[in-house]
Symmetry: C2
Subunit: 459 residues, 2 copies
């Protein structure tokens, strides 16, 4: 019935019944099985988004916004009794304002599109995540995506200056501010950033850009443990102002990655953590010199065990391939249980060791593959079976319980950047106080009184 209303209001170009929709829309990256919604709506304009929401709101129909469906918390997975509203057609070329250092974009453009458009004008859009080819600005805003450069440039929240969103009742709220400073009342865009599609549909944004640095140098370092890695980072951030990447890989992950890629740039040094670092600057020679000097300092202070500065583009690609080898985990292991945590730096080594021990004690086949964004102590853990075989539901439950209780007991968080989505809803009461939850409900009710937006997700 509502399907007919949607169809007659928006046309068959925009509204596709769930049964006949392209299967790509029926599943997001991390969810297991496709779900067929009543309809998949793919609006071409903010007016069509508004009309869609208005109709769904009138009929009390659940709405699931979709960006690139690369989310890792199941938040863009369709609901069987609801409508998917996918922004992928709202992807006009980003408008770059070189003087004002901003990009004006529609929500459906991919991260890569924005990065390339900025680069073409000597500018940088600083948020970078592995899913760049598919994830969309709307989805990145809705999840407050973080990634590797967040310790330097911030997450999406710090890189969105203005925003356009459609409220559940169809009202278009345009707050396309382009200024770094504009204190003129509530900063409404903040509501929609990180709200995982529960307060409205993001349709456009003004993104902050930075001047791009043409030169870059990359290195791999081996350090004893996380505490040392932290000291290395501290020393580097003071000595290498252009430092923009500092990723950390634990031995089990590194063995996997170097095996998977078929090379190991640090074969001689003993066990330890591997850091991938990168600095940006005006010209390569100077930058390389600064990095060299900084590394000499690190060796002299015995903070690093081994290290290699990339000498060629090819070698740089190799260093990076080790870091991105996590994308190959799905090939190598038939199941992986993934976690995304933040920890206080002081207890990082202890928590990692505790978890490795706890899971090994549960089953000697379990292996913890740790890697992370060191600058914000955001660690990603993938638990696999060393045989590569499937992890059964019971064992998975055990792993999840072990990781989550250990991290929470240590005062950490179990969603640093991937969000709560559908998967982590049950843990919210452990993460947020009663007063925070009550205030969150108040907000949600105020903006979405009928509760149509992504129900059951976030909380």
């Amino acid at each position: 019935m509502t399907l007919d209303v949607l169809l007659s209001a928006l046309g068959a170009q925009v509204v596709e019944p769930g049964e006949t929709a392209n299967p790509a829309y029926l599943k997001d990256w991390a969810s297991r099985c496709p779900v067929t919604p009543l309809a998949v709506v793919r609006p071409r304009s903010v007016e069509e988004v508004s009309r869609t929401l208005e109709i769904c709101n009138e009929h009390g129909l659940p709405v699931v916004p979709q960006g690139g469906r690369t989310g890792l918390a199941g938040g863009a997975q369709p609901l069987a009794d609801g409508v998917v509203i996918c922004l992928d057609r709202m992807n006009g070329a980003p408008e770059i304002d070189g003087q004002g250092r901003v990009a004006r974009v529609q929500a459906g453009v991919t991260l890569e599109q924005v990065q390339q458009a900025a680069e073409a004008q000597g500018l940088l859009f600083a948020v970078d995540i592995g899913s760049r080819g598919s994830c969309e600005i709307g989805g990145m805003i809705a999840t407050n995506a973080g990634g590797m450069r967040a310790f330097r440039y911030g997450m999406m929240r710090q890189n969105v200056l203005g925003l356009e969103a459609v409220l559940p009742d169809g009202t278009v709220v345009s707050a396309m501010n382009g200024f770094l400073k504009n204190n003129t009342g509530y900063d409404l865009k903040q509501l929609f950033i990180g709200a995982e599609g529960t307060l409205g549909v993001v349709t456009g944004a003004v993104l902050r850009l930075h001047p791009a640095q043409p030169a870059r140098v990359t290195a791999l370092l081996r350090v004893e443990n996380l505490a040392r890695a932290q000291q290395v980072l501290d020393a580097l951030s003071l000595r290498l102002p252009g430092l923009s990447i500092c990723e950390v890989m634990w031995p089990d992950y590194y063995y996997f990655a170097s095996g998977f890629r078929g090379f190991d740039p640090l074969p001689d040094s003993a066990d330890g953590l591997t850091l991938l670092i990168e600095a940006e600057g005006q010209e390569e020679a100077g930058l390389r010199g600064d990095l060299q000097t900084a590394l000499e300092y690190l060796f002299e202070k015995e903070l690093v065990l081994d290290g290699a500065i990339s000498q060629s583009l090819r070698q740089t690609e190799e260093f990076w391939a080790l870091r991105s080898a996590n994308e190959g985990l799905n090939q190598a292991f038939s199941s992986i249980v993934n976690f995304d945590i933040s920890l206080h730096p002081e207890i990082g080594d202890a928590v990692v060791a505790r978890l490795n021990d706890r899971l090994a004690a549960a089953s000697h086949q379990l292996r913890c593959l740790w890697l992370g964004h060191l600058g914000d102590m955001n660690l990603h853990l993938g638990v696999v079976r060393s045989s590569g075989s499937e992890i059964g539901p019971e064992c998975e439950a055990l792993i999840v319980d072990a990781v989550i209780t250990t991290v929470l007991d240590a005062g950490g968080t179990i969603s640093a950047e991937h969000g709560i989505g559908a998967f982590k809803v049950d843990y919210v009461p452990k993460l947020r106080s009663e007063a925070e939850q009550a205030l969150s409900r108040t907000l949600r009710r105020a903006l979405d009184p009928k509760g149509i937006m992504n129900p059951g997700r976030l909380f």
Copy 2:
């Protein structure tokens, strides 16, 4: 009556009737006349804040939160029929977590206290504003204070990781997150940042700290106009990664400042804008060398007309004294009409020229003293009479109208960092769309259904 309830609940130590209260609490920095409220409440704990709000809410009594009362929009000025709740007693020593790089503070600590506590551990709290000795963290959060380092480190919003606030009904919402990444639902702290005391009382915060750089070099540069200044900044930000200050002063302001201070470090060069720049780094010699090289580049490209690198601490203080001479404007002129605007860089020169002309045409005695934070194109304008004499109400109205219409016509904003407060409420409909205003009202009603928090302020 309510006064008695407050007194009996909180005691005479905490609740002072307005008539006998210290006059300091009856006026904020920019408001003209003192206003006597029913009571001045100075709680010593979050529980006392909660109890106060609970009582005021029950009795529908307006509440005005006060920090250091240095706000420039009149938002902390008492209301005659209301209660002032001043946080100045909640000023325990900041707790610095060196490893986690955060400061945990009560809302009543001054900016200077936080800066000093951080510095003592080799860390930097990066927001810096001229009122540092008096303004308090709670007030800075409520106004989303910006200042000189915002182009590099962000405003308060980007430097607050966690927050504790008391809602109008007395509920304490503690969201004292200390992580850079923690995507676990709505980021509730954002509600209170920049809300100017209309959604609750901020009682505590977790602030982000950065590693402090021990060395610093300072320079004054003379450039032809704002467009050139922008090119200079672009060149410097690529060549001097430690660049942390870039303030701009227009000729009329500079003449005043050098006259007021009694020295002029750039006496020989022709008319133009003066930039105060500063870069931070690990050691002074290297930094000085980098600055020297960068300046050579600027001269070679004919981007600057003149320049001087400070050679001593004394000279650095002199350079800075020119920038802070604006604090002496009140002595030199019996009235000043102040503005705080953001403009798109491309039109900066044109708007400044247009306004200078427009006001000169209105009265040849009017002089525009412009200075600003170049990195975010946040300009401060003080309009004075060259004779130093009073600006009458009619003339003031004319000035305000000229500046505001010119800036809005040019697509600028008339409150970059000082906020709306009581003074700019009438302009909100020109700054925000109907949908934004409606959503703002929805939010305010949801959190403060009885409308007790700073009524009449913000909107």
